[in-house]
Amino acid sequence: MREELFMAGLGGQGVNLAGQLIARAGMDIGLNVSWFPIYSPEVRGGYSTCTIVLTDGRVGSPTSEHPTSMILMDPTAVENFAAPLVRGGLMVVNSSLVPERPEGDFRVLMVPANDIAAEIGNERTVNMALIGAWAAGTGLMDVEDVAGSLRAMLPERHHRHMPDNENALKRGAEIGETARL
Amino acid sequence: MPKVKIDAERCKQCMLCVEFCPRDSLRISERTNLKGYHPVEQCDEESCTGCGICALVCPSVCVEVYR
């Protein structure tokens, strides 16, 4: 298998960290992985994108021309980056910010990530809801595994956020399950 | 008797020792060293007090003072 995931969002939305988590989780379940970022020139507030390759073979190129899945976190991301997604690929969209469902020859998961985070009461869990949906939607990893990798990545002082993160991952995964049907 | 010995082959005839000698006991010699300089020599052992100024000002480090 070879999954090429492309993620895009505004700086500050935690795009890169979320991407690193997915790659790290992939490594933890025994896949070969890479994570490659492209930042816009502004250090903060600019655009963030990253590409994650997950494969049981050689990673080869860490960049991707035609991603097999995408996580797009805001309207600009959908507008600018959706086109190269492969036919039949999976697009995870933050529907809290992108109300209109993108149309195309691909599967779409509308995940109200900001709303989920608000309900959980922790706005930093937005990207966890999206990751949960992606994980379940691709069927590549269980959210429990993702949570385990997150715990390993986070410094001790942030472990108190783990319940919120796990909650958001699960809520996202529930939505993700629907795409696999 | 105080005495100044100058390594004739190292002397470059800069004259600083001659000029600064308070007793005028040094002079340029007639002879020529391998570099073509006329090395300084002591001309007046009697007047030398062994003050060492010649050695102090010598940039070629070629003056020995005996006292």
């Binding site: 790659a23 490594m27 070969n32 992985v33 994570w35 960049t63 | -």
Partner: protein, 363 residues
Amino acid sequence: MSQQRRKVFISGNEATAEGGIAGGCRHFFGYPITPQNKIPEYMAEELPKIGGVYLQAESEVAAINMVYGAASAGARVMTTSSSPGIALMQEGLSYCLGSELPCVLVNMVRGGPGLGNIGPAQSDYWLATRGCGHGDGRCITLTPYSVQELHDFTAGAFEIADRYRNPVMVLADAILASMMEPCELIPRRDLPAPDRPWAVGPHDPDQRERNIVNSLWVEFDVMEAVSQRLEERYRQAAEEITDWDEFGSDEPQVMICAYGISARICESAVMQANDELGIRTRLIRPKTVFPFPTEPIRSWAERVDAALVVELSMGQFVEDVRLAVEGRCPVDLLGRAGGNVPTVGDVVEKIREAALRAGVARV
């Protein structure tokens, strides 16, 4: 290695810095420049913990001369920078070469000339393999293509530098610097001091003559003898440490030559060409570019119908490939610049064109 390697998920910059520490580096002198700033930051954090020294120099010029001083004093020492900074270091590097001082430099190449940009590039190929100051000195140049290799090559560079009494440059790029991958870290350990009887420092004058680190040889014959000694050393290095990797078809029609990040892209392209296009393709990937793996490239050139070189520069690496191939097969170039990187599709298309021209593929 007695201790187990620990597998972590880490950026190229961090893997490089940790590789330096694993290689025995306890002295780091550097100056900030994107895209390698994570390395000095990492060193500033870690070296004091293990009794090492991190010093931010006032310029790259000063940094390389601090390296020169530290190497003279017998330390395993390194600096890291990116293209314009490495350009500034050329004089000091030349002194290291002339004085035969082991030291390690890492160059995370970015777009140029001039201030260029901070995108990935391989356009310092000539600088690394031909340049390195004036005169007849050459830098031994290693070209990692993954985070793991950045770590391993940087660690190994110190031993190579000591073996040949020569600076070693690890030549990578902005992508390798910033990307993250799993990496098995070489455990940190205290290495014995390198054997450098020529190093300066406190000594008993009855035990040895005074040591002088110098590259001034006014007499022509002496200077020529130094140049001949260096040349002999490079010839020896060519025999002993020339390294490369190969991947793909065992009976190739097309040979691709690429190093570093370009080789990563080519690896994917080779898989596609073999599996989807049915063009039998093999990647030859130098892990050292000075000394250059002339032999494998030459020997495959005898057997393939076409060669393709992929590099992030306008045709620098290709010259070494052509020197190796010596007309045995046509050599095509896919060169990108300025931070742009060819896609896998671009490379596959080039493979197809090369195969078509060589008459080994239709469509």
